[in-house]
Symmetry: C2
Subunit: 371 residues, 2 copies
């Protein structure tokens, strides 16, 4: 999940067939065109959780040719970390494992200016994101974290630079009704994506940005601005890849704003159990009917948990799917198994999270804004 707050979800809640529209409408390429180029796979690609990209083939080729390569993403620190965020952290972990540099921005400027959130709370949440990223296995020595409001002059200079070469109409087309806050935040986001190309930040010209599909307009703006600064700053277009959002337990996008339907990484076990018990499934009206007709996993929020996190092998995922549609395993049993697996995952993560917090490593990996 990228961090922009702007409401820009022209596709609403999409099932897999809707995603294919993006290919036609916006020129996003199907992920299938590059999966084979990856020497190390990840279930997110193979299960089409990551479903599309722009120029990812170029990124992969450059990466394997030994070019300095980076993956950049951002988190909007507007609430506690849930499984939707963990998906992005898992993507970062994958890229770090195969050898790319990882850089993560905490979008505290935008949280303050556009979302109008409490400043202290924002910083606290930002730290929580970083702690979870480290607890999930990102290397504290190899991952760069920064707060938007606490970086260096060479980064902020880009915001001024970009403002020269972007028009009001262009931004309005992307962001709808503009405010000064939206304009400053949007240009800050472009700086977040492109600054790593500068010598001062490691000169990583091979950049990939994992985002949700709704963020593609920002990616296009960023690519346009990269073109406009190709002479002046030597910028090249970043690549991007697009993931689906994990579904919340009510069947809509998982979001901190509807906490009853999100699984937060720090939820107590009994809270998780209650949420799973209440979760929307693809079950039928009666058990008999379900035994006869089978369940509908594509409508099931529990199946999503298997798809994203709980089914580690494709075989296990296929079995779960087949057991459902054949009517062999009913929702109660399936939920029970999901809960068991989920609690193991969460308990391990919480334990590592506590270790990270107690170790004091956060203060070594990121400097918090003074105010």
């Amino acid at each position: 999940m990228f961090y922009l707050n702007i409401k820009l979800d022209p596709w609403g809640h999409m099932d897999i067939s809707d995603y294919s529209k993006l290919y036609e409408l916006f020129g996003i390429e199907p992920i299938d065109t590059v999966i084979d180029d990856l020497r190390v796979k990840h279930r997110f690609f193979e299960r089409r959780v990551v479903f599309g990209h722009r120029d990812m083939g170029k990124w992969i080729k450059n990466f394997y040719s030994g070019e300095k390569s980076i993956v950049l993403t951002g988190f909007m620190p507007s609430g506690h970390v849930h499984l939707g965020h963990l998906m992005v952290i898992e993507e970062l972990k994958y890229f770090q494992k195969i050898g790319a540099k990882v850089r993560v921005v905490i979008a505290d400027a935008e949280a303050y200016a556009v979302r109008r959130l409490d400043r202290d709370l924002t910083i606290k949440y930002g730290v929580e994101y970083i702690a979870h990223a480290l607890a999930w296995g990102l290397d504290s020595l190899e991952t760069d974290f920064y707060f938007q409001t606490n970086y260096s002059e060479d980064y902020y200079r880009l915001i001024h630079f970009f403002s020269r070469k972007v028009s009001f109409n262009e931004m309005e087309a992307i962001y709808g009704e503009l405010t000064p806050a939206k304009i400053v935040s949007a240009l800050t986001q472009v700086a977040d994506i492109l600054h790593s190309q500068l010598k001062e930040f490691g000169e990583y010209r091979n950049i990939i940005v994992p985002v949700g599909a709704d963020q593609d307009p920002h990616i296009r703006l960023t690519r346009d601005l990269a073109d406009r600064f190709s002479n002046e700053l030597g910028f090249v277009r970043p690549s991007s890849m697009y993931h689906k959002f994990i579904t919340g337990l009510d069947g809509n996008k998982m979001s901190s704003s509807r906490p009853d339907y999100a699984i937060f990484l720090l939820d107590d076990n009994d809270i998780v159990a209650k949420k799973i018990a209440m979760a929307l499934t693809g079950g039928r009206a009666t058990a008999d009917e379900q035994r006869k007709l089978g369940g509908e996993p594509h409508k099931c929020s529990i199946y999503q948990l298997y798809l994203y996190f709980l089914a580690e092998t494709d075989g296990e995922l296929r079995d779960t799917y087949n057991d459902c549609i054949s009517g062999k395993v009913l929702c109660g049993q399936c939920k029970k198994r999901a809960l068991e697996k989920l609690l193991i995952l969460l308990n391990e993560q919480r334990s590592r999270f506590r270790d990270v917090v107690e170790s004091g490593v956060i203060d070594k990996v990121v400097e918090k804004p003074k105010f």
Copy 2:
């Protein structure tokens, strides 16, 4: 001269009577209300070159009570330094002499983004401004200089902060048609004026900003934003004072954009002589007529030079005035004396300027942007 580029001169070229309209229309106070509070006078106040203010009485009172006090101004590095800029430098020198802190911003971000000037040239001009300020007598150890694109995160954070509490309509009312560049630059300007109140920048809450009258809308925006951050950051409203622009040799505002009618501090002597020879005066059609009717100093660009720089005592200025209106001294003779005095001033300044440049002190007082 403050640095904002935005066209906002509702008053056009004003003579002294027009300035009084500002008092009624915008609530600017006449400078007369505070001159007596200043223990050390300056000819700019007494000659009404500085003609108005907002809350300057408060600033003076706080200053003499021993409160930390600062004067902040900015230069748009869009060309070589001329006498109009020297007037502002002289104001700063006065404030430094009486004991206030002086801080000067080079508006290179705005020069780049709004004025769309060449970046390298802008930085070069910025350095020229600083060198002239030091050559004119600002203390290199006591004056802070910075480039907008090369400051610290605690300053840039303010731009994000301010963006939250300002509306599009408010800015449009001040700046006319908005562009992303204008919005970012305007908020940067507010940060320039207010950042000195932060602990990180010396905690100077008693701020005065000398500007041209056309910049007053920006001062009002800044004062409003100071109010809106009074709780969060403890900001208080800055004071301001307003000067008239020195007239160019064609009778319009002196400006780098009409170089033939401006006296640049680095102009060669023969160039200066030619410009003075061509300068608009308040002379009559014939010498005879002038001897009979007298000249019109309020229409004369040479008289302006006396008013601002060449007449050091009020007695000398009065004599020059009387010699003109009585027809006793004609334009040729008056120009000759002006040229002599001007060349002395310029030659001395150029000599000190060269010393400053050769001393390498610039690199000690300001860090130039990396790109």
